[in-house]
Symmetry: C4
Subunit: 232 residues, 4 copies
């Protein structure tokens, strides 16, 4: 296992959040896990993106113990760790406060699938959790935030492999993927889709989700065994 390669990948994905306009200052974090060795690389807490260096990335085990690095890991680390335990096929997690996705989270609303741009990347609505309960705030808040996401997917029967993002109510978006790059990609697409969704609702408050046949067509032409999009 190449620790520097893992740190570099996580560093680059963090910086890509800046390039895509999803974060300012310290408003986000990206992690990636090496599933073979169960090592998680994550952004350090409160380090400004302008000053972040590859070697600042912290390496942890799945219990949150520091394996490598001189800095404290992101304050949201426990949320990431829960997601790695609960969503066993993902290998990266991203958290941002991107504007439109955050607005939906603050509004307590899921991002409904109003068009094919959404359907191309998310196989259904991107859910918004309920508001976190007081006892979850007082008892290991960041861990409970992870549980809130995992429970939302379990209770609503949503497959985390086809809807790779969740809005935490009153908070903001989390996304995930096969690697840090994909998880950042999903964050970016979510913001784009949230913006178009918001504008759509302003233009037509009664706009409906697209029908299942169209959702299937778009999602499945890009994903799964019958996909014919891309270079295969």
């Amino acid at each position: 296992m190449d620790k520097n390669k893992l740190k570099q990948a996580v560093y680059e994905a963090n910086m890509e959040l800046v390039n895509k306009g999803l974060v300012i200052y310290t408003f986000g974090n990206v992690s990636q896990i090496d599933r073979e060795h169960n090592i998680v690389a994550i952004k350090p807490s409160g380090v400004d993106y302008d000053k972040l260096k590859p070697n600042d990335i912290v390496l942890l085990d799945l219990d949150g113990n520091i394996i490598d690095g001189n800095l404290r890991p992101s304050s949201d680390t426990k949320t990431h760790l829960v997601l790695y335990r609960e969503f066993v096929q993902i290998r990266a997690v991203v958290h941002t406060h991107s504007r439109y996705a955050t607005a939906f989270a603050q509004a307590g609303l899921s991002v409904k699938c109003l068009g094919t741009t959404h359907a191309d990347y998310f196989y259904g609505d991107v859910p918004c959790t309920g508001v976190i309960k007081d006892e979850m705030i007082s008892d290991d808040y960041e861990k409970q935030t992870g549980n809130l996401i995992a429970d939302t997917f379990k209770n609503r029967n949503i497959d985390y492999n086809v809807v790779k993002a969740c809005l935490v109510a009153c908070h903001g978006p989390f996304s995930w993927g096969a690697d840090a790059k994909e998880a950042v990609f999903i964050s970016t697409v979510l913001e784009e889709v949230a913006k178009a969704n918001c504008l759509t609702q302003l233009l037509n408050p009664s706009a409906l989700s697209i029908k299942k046949t169209l959702l299937d067509k778009h999602y499945l032409r890009k994903h799964g065994s019958c996909a014919y999009y891309g270079q295969g």
Copy 2:
């Protein structure tokens, strides 16, 4: 016929979508046809704009057979091909998911002609199609999307030479023109006009389309035999 020149033109027009802020990642495609030889050059499927090279552009005949190129053509290729067959005077097609035009498409609303900026470039509303029918989704979806556009223009008696764009409901905008450059120009203007239209409706939900005399004045001072705009 110079294949490389055609590829280069289509490559540059694709990249111009990025420059104008109309696409991210792979969210769009441009094609151009050589009407003399019936050869269509189009963006390859799922290739990120950051990595696109002129030689990646795929050449096809009007039935979609690959004439030149190692990559699969855009998954929307059949939509382009229908438009070339139905709209016999156009020589380029552009598809994007630009935010405001997509919002109108998702809202199922035409972009009404609310001002002279619109009237300078579109001789009337930019229509939004009805929602594609289930049997059209299951039977050659991309081809049927082209038919949906063509039928919308036919049924509503709209001349594709004076309104060079269409919104596909629940999906997004398509535009066309005399060459790839013009079709990208129309896409850009459509997004600009859609944004101003959206803001207008937020400020004044009862804002009306401009009157015919003003539409005529603006469109016809720029287009047709009596035009006096530009350097003639």
Copy 3:
């Protein structure tokens, strides 16, 4: 009189519209007048900002006759000329289709003075004209557009020296000033003020214009004999 200096000033002001994000392609024009010699320098018609050169600027007399230049002047030239005749103290005119100001024009709404940012630069609302009459469209449209602006200021008793901009209904903003630089500055501030005004109305549809005492305070601390803003 230095013709090249005049052309250069008008060229630079035109390009500043691009830098400030107020225009794309050919969506605007700037002119400036030499009041001593009654020579007007204006952008040529339909020339893309990307290709505009200082020497493309056209010189005209006040009747619109070309004095110098190989290109046709802006199609809006007659509007500019009317403004120079009616507003005898101005020396520059700018026209754009900037998004928010255009949205107000399309909505048929004046930009009300909702805050001190507005009051710092406009001594009252920026008016929106009525919709141009059919006979004004058919009879020398561009000249009549100028008359519409001048009449709006006359009929509503607005001093063009303290409100240096007007929205033409269904069309967009015109602004003016002591030179091309100031007129572009006013265009930019108008767009900024229109944006804040639009957002204000979305947040609070019953937001009121600021009171006269506050308007006076802010406008007069920056303008007139009692001004104490700036370096005097």
Copy 4:
């Protein structure tokens, strides 16, 4: 005391307002105080950010007398001075007309705490003052603007150390901090939070402030003796 260092810090903070997109032209000002010597460094009045140089920064005593500098200080100087006297622990003040914060000020609305992004930086709503009274406008307006802010915090029992910004009704935002850099940071975060808040209200007009337990959790994990965010 190093005057040049103070000027440089205030210069850089002023320019950072431009970098963050919070000001255009002359639409803002930053000051910082040396509490040991009671010397305030502030932007000169009406100097365009494009032309501002470190040595243009004006040094004043707390009564507003110029100690160093050839230019007039910002016309808002007296507002800053009142804040330094009333809020004895702050060492920098920033004023901008940033779009979303200004829209809230023009709407006469506080920026309610609708999410954790807000709670991370402001321990409660960012208040909007009442409209300034006529006698305060006629009697030393800029000083009274400072009093209006200070009184708003006093009357509503808000601690200026945990809510480091205020909207002045019909006007715009002021912020403060331990140094010019922090005050600019707060301005930037306020604009970001105001934008997300505005979008949230458009999506869900009945969106509520987050509950006290969540506000406490987020603010206190970043600030105070129990903070565990950042590198400590």
